[in-house]
Amino acid sequence: MDTLFLAEVTLAGLGAGALYALTGVAFVLIYKATRVVNLAIGEILMLGGYAFLGFAAGLGLSPWLALPLAIAAGGALGWLVERALIRPMLGESPISVFMVTIGLGSILAGVVQLGWGADPLRLPEFMPSTPVFIGEAYLAPKVAIGFVAAAVVIGLFLALFRFSRGGVALKATAADQGAAYSVGIDVPRVFSVAWILACATAAGAGVLIGAIGGISPTMGVFGLSVLVVVIIGGLDSIAGALVGGLLIGLVEALAGAFLGGEFKLVVTFALLLVLLMVRPYGLFGTHEIERL
């Protein structure tokens, strides 16, 4: 086997994995705060890409202005979704809430298609295109930038969770919403902030992914891979999202390179099935204890 090729595939896989991990962290953030499995994360990510296109190409703004605007649009969407769709579902079965997010994903995909058409589009170029070499292995510059950006954002999140009051509030809310509320934590605000941050992050990831591979209304299937990532890592574990993201990125890249592109999805899902049988709550997830 050609080691250089293997190294390049591995690098590309880790690059993609970093974006999975970033979106996975957004997903876990929502799950920890509100216990909602947000299947619309892929569509929110897609909307981030389209918002960027709208600001940059549609309104003719500089990409460096369009990027924060797209992220802000994602955050605003997160705020709106939490208020309008998620909070009314408080106390309903997790499956109902899960279905609400599936419905939301469908609405968003339809809206994007209505506004921009069904064809894939390219985002305006705004990243440097100097080739990156690590040792001898070539890495596409956008992938490298995506990796670095994802790593920085994840690092920021980790610092925030560890050292800020908000992080403590999030942990408390994740452990027991009622108890957190009774000791004076503004749980509804935690819900709101978690959705805003997570959706803003997803929108940012959408711009990165769109810059690498273009955007289309079917981009939401990215959410399916993210779902695999967080299930493998454990729904409520940030570390799980990191490990799961890199793992799935790597596995997909290897499967794509050595077996063929059509094997990507089936290999990750087969891996998922095996893992579910061995560790039903993911690598790092919390096992809920059942009582009679």
């Binding site: 499995v37 499956i95 939301l104 609405i107 339809g110 695999v228 089936v266 009679l292």
Partner: protein, 346 residues
Amino acid sequence: MRIGTLKTSYAADEALFDTPTQRLLLGLLALGAIAFPFVASPYWLFLACLCAINVASATGLNLLTGYTGLVSLGQAAFMSVGAYTVAVLEIRLGTPFFINLLVGAGLAAMIGILVGIPSLKVKGLYLAIATIAASVILHFLFAHWSLTGESRGLSMPPARLFGLTLDQPFSLYWLIMPVTCLMVLGAANLLRTRIGRAFIAIRDRDISAEVLGIPLLRYKLTSFAISSFYAGLAGGLWAYFFRVVTPESFPLVNSIFYLAAIIVGGMGTILGGILGAVFMTLVPELLKFVANWATPIYPDALAALAPVRTIVFGGLIVGFLIFEPRGLAEIWRRLRRFFHLWPFRT
């Protein structure tokens, strides 16, 4: 205004349709269903058959998700097992259609049991994801296996019965509608026996159910088997109806469609599965009708049809879950109550 109904035996009280009004309505409905093909246009017959197929599959999913509480996003994949089996048998062996349908459904049931095995360990969303995984794997298998025509899929001859060829909506209606009615009746029957009670017990409190004498794994797998048997049978009917089966015939979004159908109709009621499947099948057609009508005023209406359908589909799921979580069946119940009490309560 209905005052009350007198029953003189437990059998009468345990009947599925226990009032004279219900039996009368049912009779009228049956007469309507028999008369329908003779008065309806092929387009409406086509829709009726499609509704019936979706009702059959949604009823199966309702047994699993609505009654047993096991969420599955694999119903379309189980349908594809039935559809491919029927197509392969019809092409390779030319066996009679009822045998093909039963074999297809049986095979789907067996795969359903396999897919259900993780339900021993995982619950809720984890299980839903496991069923997605199974769908992805089945899709991959059908798209790469020479027996199933790889990515081109299979074209198959029509069903035949006593020298008759069932290739038009009119003739297929007489196959699809009775089978669907039997399936729905079967599901309703199932639910008034110990098996139905065990399903509901598992949904409501699975651990207590076990202590009360219900072996969990056996009944979870039974539920998966029955549900995917229904899906397989519906998929077989689908294959005879469209006569082309490809890997893209049963995408993941179809599984979501069936889940949406039972949510919109009302989970955990037989009526809900029927109403939801019919409603969700007809809404896109209604939108097409509206788009055709709007074209003179708004020329791009037809181009906007596909995204609008996607939006309405999502909107219905979200809207029903937030505003009427018990679905159309609950609306129907309220209407009935209104007429029972009319004119004293208005």
